[in-house]
Subunit: 232 residues, 2 copies
């Protein structure tokens, strides 16, 4: 692995685990050079990645400071308008366990030919905050080199964490479409809302570091009590 990448991963880990807490200053670039025994440019490249991740802020003449809120991937976090991030009362209910299907369609996104041929891993989840349904979530992925995924425990670990740790698949970007709709019968049942209640719909096609491997997801969210929030 490239040196700048090792430094980046190390610093990122320390920010994630709280060694460097929000508001803390990172070591100066020069001291990082000494510690890791590399040139200035190498440290700067690592710092630059953290900056473009939105994990730190840099100002000329001042030390770089750890930011409060890490950048999400498009939309990931759910937050109560009055409560804290990573709400302890957030739980996941698997409505439909991961299973193999043939592709029908992917929420208006065109499915690529080799994905179509590989078959579709399909599952549905319901997220609850303090027992209240907050959003309902349908995911589809091509069944390409994902042995043992069908037995994967999605209740206690996020999909993206699982894919990264089990298969080294990481998200690189994607496209998302937002709609405000009226709840139909299915959504009314899942999210416990009245007919015609406004619901936020989010369709996403997510790119990964594997060429030709995309994650397609559709999400329905009641925003009455809790808003959908994201950083970028």
């Amino acid at each position: 692995m490239a040196k700048y990448r090792q430094i980046y991963e190390t610093l990122r880990r320390r920010i994630a685990d709280g060694t460097y807490a929000p508001g803390d200053m990172l070591p100066s670039e020069n001291s990082l050079c000494s510690v890791y025994g590399v040139a200035h440019l190498t440290v700067r490249k690592a710092i630059g990645q953290l900056l473009s991740d939105g994990l730190i802020v840099c100002r000329q003449g001042k030390r770089s400071v750890v930011k409060g809120t890490p950048k999400g991937i498009g939309i990931l976090s759910i937050i109560g308008t009055t409560s804290a991030l990573n709400h302890p009362g957030l739980s996941t209910q698997i409505i439909c366990k991961p299973e193999l299907r043939t592709w029908s369609e992917a929420f208006s996104f065109p499915v690529e030919a080799h994905e179509q041929a590989a078959g579709c891993i399909y599952f549905e989840r319901l997220r609850l905050l303090d027992g209240i349904p907050v959003f309902f979530d349908i995911t589809m992925m091509p069944n390409i080199n994902l042995s043992r995924f069908l037995n994967c425990d999605l209740e206690n670990r996020s999909l993206f964490d699982s894919l990264r740790m089990m298969y080294q698949i990481v998200v690189t970007g994607g496209t998302q479409q937002f709609f405000a709709i009226r709840a139909d019968k299915r959504i009314q049942d899942c999210l416990k809302v009245h007919a015609g209640h406004p619901v936020l719909q989010l369709n996403r096609k997510i790119d990964t570091n594997r060429t030709g491997f995309h994650i397609y997801s559709q999400l329905f969210c009641v925003t009455q009590k809790y808003g959908l929030i994201g950083t970028f």
Copy 2:
């Protein structure tokens, strides 16, 4: 202005105006060095910015290629579910020209003290696609070193382009909240929808490279015919 930034702006402009069309290859880094008379690193820094903007794709050993859809800033682009990006029928109507106000509130985001003190530049815009109102947009910014902004032509150029070119202000990140709501009276009038029609609401606080300079915006969008789309 920094050399790498000039090169970045030039290349970006050429991508925007179609000189380099999607799928086209950029000139090689070495040839860019010769053309602009700068070192390799300087060109790479400019290229790196385009890459992190999502405007190009780079592969080792191959020339860099212009991407079809640029990465938006959180959510930026509007697209018809069946039509193309940069729809020719998209027009902007200034409902309320940029004017100086005192801050009231910023869509539930707390306004920082020095922003409060500087006063607020406020304006409202309505975007239409083929004459149909698609979204309605309220923007607030602190009045800090923005001479001549009040005369700025926002109908023909995006706010972010204007800020970048006139004041070297670039967006570095931000926070956004999504809601599905029922249209109230004001929104019904602006967007020409019936009472209770579902509407997408998006509140954003946008960070910039200027410390303590944030853009606060609120957006209402009818997603019946056109969805709000973004890349990340």
